[in-house]
Symmetry: D2
Subunit: 342 residues, 4 copies
């Protein structure tokens, strides 16, 4: 058994990490830390985890996080880099579930996040071509954003085979847990229930450059993403519609073939049977993506739709998948393949 710490254990990503780690046969939970909730029992914040209810949350300090084999940092953007810099144990696998180490381009960091760029860590999306080998040697892992996870999985097969033009339009609905436990008026149940709303429209959402970075790397040329996120009345889940012009001569059969080839050995990405379209409920609580693709022949566009659970495959489950690789464990160890429905 290897020992893991979770910084940010009182939040939604931290809670999902704890839920999944309790099912993992080779990882055991050590320190649970947070900021304002330090000193209180975890049960006050994560009442769905009775196995950890009596565990007392500690302060997020280098001292508390020291001595673990793996440290998950599930902290607000901008806070991971500082604490990671103080954890100078080269053998520890440090996993940043925030954005601090995702972007390779300091200018993109400055434009979308502001401040100094903390550097770039190996990107924790094993399905990205070539990425598994990189993660096998990694001691530092940047967990992808939830939207970029969905969008990259939905479109990389098309771009890897040169089947789509680099002018991507993405519209994605997310559940409210994607915004965390922040006490904001627009996240109140009264506002959210019965309503779908748009936010971060017009190229300003921080996940935009990350999507572009991933798809450009696969395509071998610059890919632009016009991204519109929506908040939907559900706690979990992302459903992303990802579309790009098909390259000249593209046929529906060739598109399907490319997706089948790219995904046939992926344990966590299901290409649905033809005619079946994803629903977020298919992936609720599971480390999976449900994907479908078609060619809109009227409009000449590739349309890929993907569902993930933003907290599982989109954050905590994806993080553990990468950690499994880094530790030399089977990639899927301890990760749920099946969702909870209805």
């Amino acid at each position: 058994m290897q020992r893991v710490a979770i910084a940010g254990a009182s939040g939604y990503a931290g809670g999902e990490l704890a839920r999944l780690l309790l099912m993992h046969p080779e990882l055991e939970i050590g320190a649970l830390t947070a900021a304002s909730s330090a000193g209180s029992p975890l049960g006050a914040h994560q009442p769905h985890l009775p196995q950890l209810a009596a565990r007392i949350i500690q302060e997020t300090t280098p001292e508390v996080l020291a001595g673990h084999d793996v440290v998950f940092l599930a902290l607000p953007h901008g806070q991971s880099a500082a604490i990671a810099a103080q954890l100078d144990e080269s053998d520890t696998v440090i996993v940043d579930c925030g954005a601090d180490h995702r972007l390779a381009d300091p200018a993109a960091w400055a434009e979308f996040y502001g401040g100094a760029h903390a550097g770039t860590w190996p990107y924790g999306l094993p399905e990205l071509p070539g990425q598994r080998d990189i993660l096998k040697a990694a001691r530092r892992i940047a967990v992808p954003g939830c939207y970029p996870t969905a969008v990259t999985l939905a479109l990389f097969p098309a771009f890897a085979e040169g089947l789509a033009e680099p002018d991507v339009v993405v519209v994605a609905a997310t559940g409210t847990s994607g915004a965390g436990k922040a006490l904001k008026p627009n996240l109140l149940g009264s506002e959210v229930m019965g309503s779908v709303s748009a936010y971060g429209v017009g190229g300003v959402h921080r996940h935009t450059p990350e999507m572009e970075q991933n798809l450009s790397a696969v395509a071998g040329l610059p890919v632009t993403v016009a991204f519109t996120p929506m908040l939907a009345p559900m706690s979990r889940g992302i459903l992303a519609t990802c579309t790009a012009p098909g390259t000249p001569g593209l046929t529906a059969a060739a598109l399907r073939d490319a997706y089948e080839s790219a995904l046939k050995d992926e344990p966590f990405v299901t290409l649905l049977p033809e005619g079946v379209w994803p629903a977020t409920a298919m992936t609720y609580g599971a480390n999976t993506a449900a994907l479908q693709v078609t060619l809109d022949e009227r409009a000449g566009r590739v349309v890929a739709v993907i569902a993930i659970d933003n907290l599982t495959k989109g954050t905590a489950g994806g993080a553990i998948q990468s950690v499994n690789l880094a530790l030399g464990l089977p990639e899927g160890l301890g990760l749920p393949l099946n969702g909870v429905a209805p």
Copy 2:
């Protein structure tokens, strides 16, 4: 007072017509008809309308519908044309809330609906340039589809001014009432709650040619729409993200100006203050659209996002707005400007 009949009174569109007509000072409800629920009291089907609870639903026949000033046909697609053909009273305003008389192109009808095309009636979207005058003389009105209402309102100002290229991508979330009261497994509460799903992807949704018809007419050239609808866990509401490449040299200020000019006298379309994005809750139960537009300068795309209530502005309220015009009444008479929230 003029007397109106509602065919399809036990369905969701019929119920919304009844709710709105009960608030209308110049229209009174006559016959309420349906098919399988004929003979039962309306209260068994529309328990939110106690004022009509004891009214008995009659059969949908030409005899029952005769003798009214206005007849609303809120019937499944393909059923309006047959009953309308039997109502040969030229003075009666006949309002088809279904699809039968929306499309001008018989080939588009054949491709998306199949069977013989019933013909084309004046299109009940007063905001479409030039359409108010047409509706003032109308005795037949084709009520737009809910999605085309949203998408046309969102993009016509851009196409009217030549600010967007005719390569439109629309992704829209709808509440379940858009699918009617059909007893289908995917519409069960257990399946819908907590889940967003895609359907009708890839250019096959029947509202696609209607959107293209409207925007092409405004643009003066053929506009293509790649349309992806989603089902969201709410009863009512549409939130549509509508995007198209901006024409060369387009600026954010010019785009905003065009929308302000086009919408400044529209009573039911609100261009939100800059920086505020629509939520369907803003329009719940109201005959309004809440709209915002921006220029995504990274991607060079116009992005318009619009919220409507699919049953109110998207069906029953829009229908009454057109009927007001046809009857020479003030366009907004009896129609709610304010929604019910939270």
Copy 3:
């Protein structure tokens, strides 16, 4: 037209007052005031009310509220009394939508709310036997709590006729708007959606003495209420199950008769047809109550179930109903009888 002010216009009760007053033919909206949101446009807080979007919220001061025919105080508990005391205009109808003036017993106030008792105002529940006459002369009105409105309407016919023993058990589910716009973690959409929770269990909820006060007055003897509220995943609505032992010899027919007699002239309380049970959707946005009652013959208990909209009949609509009486207007003027569904 008489002129009304709303103090607390940025909250949920204030917003519902504004929505309903916009439909009222004899009342027009004057000052809109609030505390922390003073200075901002109402549209920033109530985006579903485009007719008032540009109105600027003023400070809640006696000066701003002066000069109106009616002043609605939709303020947190404990704040109404202070401002009301400063509004010493004897002709103005002052309406306290909070709890400050509901209880007749200072000891009950001290036990459940604490601090000094502000006094007792005429209780704004016209359906309570004898209460209409009191309200017709009223210049001060204490609007009932949302739960007491539901429970009193559900059980007064039984207690008025001596058909139930004074040992009441009530379990009621409410939507989140009942808790207001407070930024509390348990009111976040992520916590509320997909979950029903209990709170204020064991006789500690502040609405308990108000229910007991009402039912005791009707019964003519002390009635005890064991009350358990629940938070349900919806924005609006209360469904209350209210049960008490039937008195010896009670029959189902006698019970039904008593309810029919008591309610037959009530415009806003619908006794549903036998076998039909209430749903909150029946009353969404309407000033109505949907009620059913039965005798559980196995257990010997009267079981009455009632649905209301907590913001409409439970707060703002009920307030306007009482104001209509106080102003000598028809009791139902401007108040919606039909709900918005589905």
Copy 4:
């Protein structure tokens, strides 16, 4: 590994059995059967279970179900008995997830279900005093109803110690999955979302005699239950408020002590810290109950509130817990202790 069959695999209970069995280290899934969906892949009905997506559903016949160590019958009420009678393999553990074998009293069966009583099997609620030993020898198991599971767990500690009078009032909210996949209008998402409704009021719900049977057995005297169920806008979960008069002299401390003693060794029932009240989200997807109890001193009543997942602890998880006992495995083997939240 022992081999299990699931009859009714396309339904909600069947799907939950499959989900849980996929996580069980000693049970492997054999035949999956159903009625109308026989011949189709399980993925068409349970798309959240990709591990079984390609498995073809077989007909529910004795031949198909033969040869398994355990057979779960997740069939509509009244269908289990017939098929069970044909499975005359005495060594097979046959588990009836329906109602056919729960009631000991044929008269109660006749009154609430009608038709011939199939007989009584060992009752699968291990927490009921004395029941674990009975289940250890069982080859036939009657899985409790979801509501009786909740209510029995909530009140047995009080009745076992003689702390409550036998006059119980229960009001419970359930998610829609409790009603199964039946295509009924009141279960449509449009009807359910945003609304709480009552049903089966007045002593007519079929789970009433089962609750009375359990509590009477514990109390040693006849207990009456006045039960009102409600449908809440969520897919899963039961929150039950269970109340009974406290016996004379009962104190809050004595009540708490009794619950702590009764539950201290129960792995799946959590008595929450004082002051914390249950939410169904605490138990989502877990085989757990979250329970709190208090003494309402004003009303003199014991009030216990409990949350379970109706499909997990309330059906499939509870069934596997009993099967673990019957097979001599650790009682909690393979069963989730932690829920999925938010």
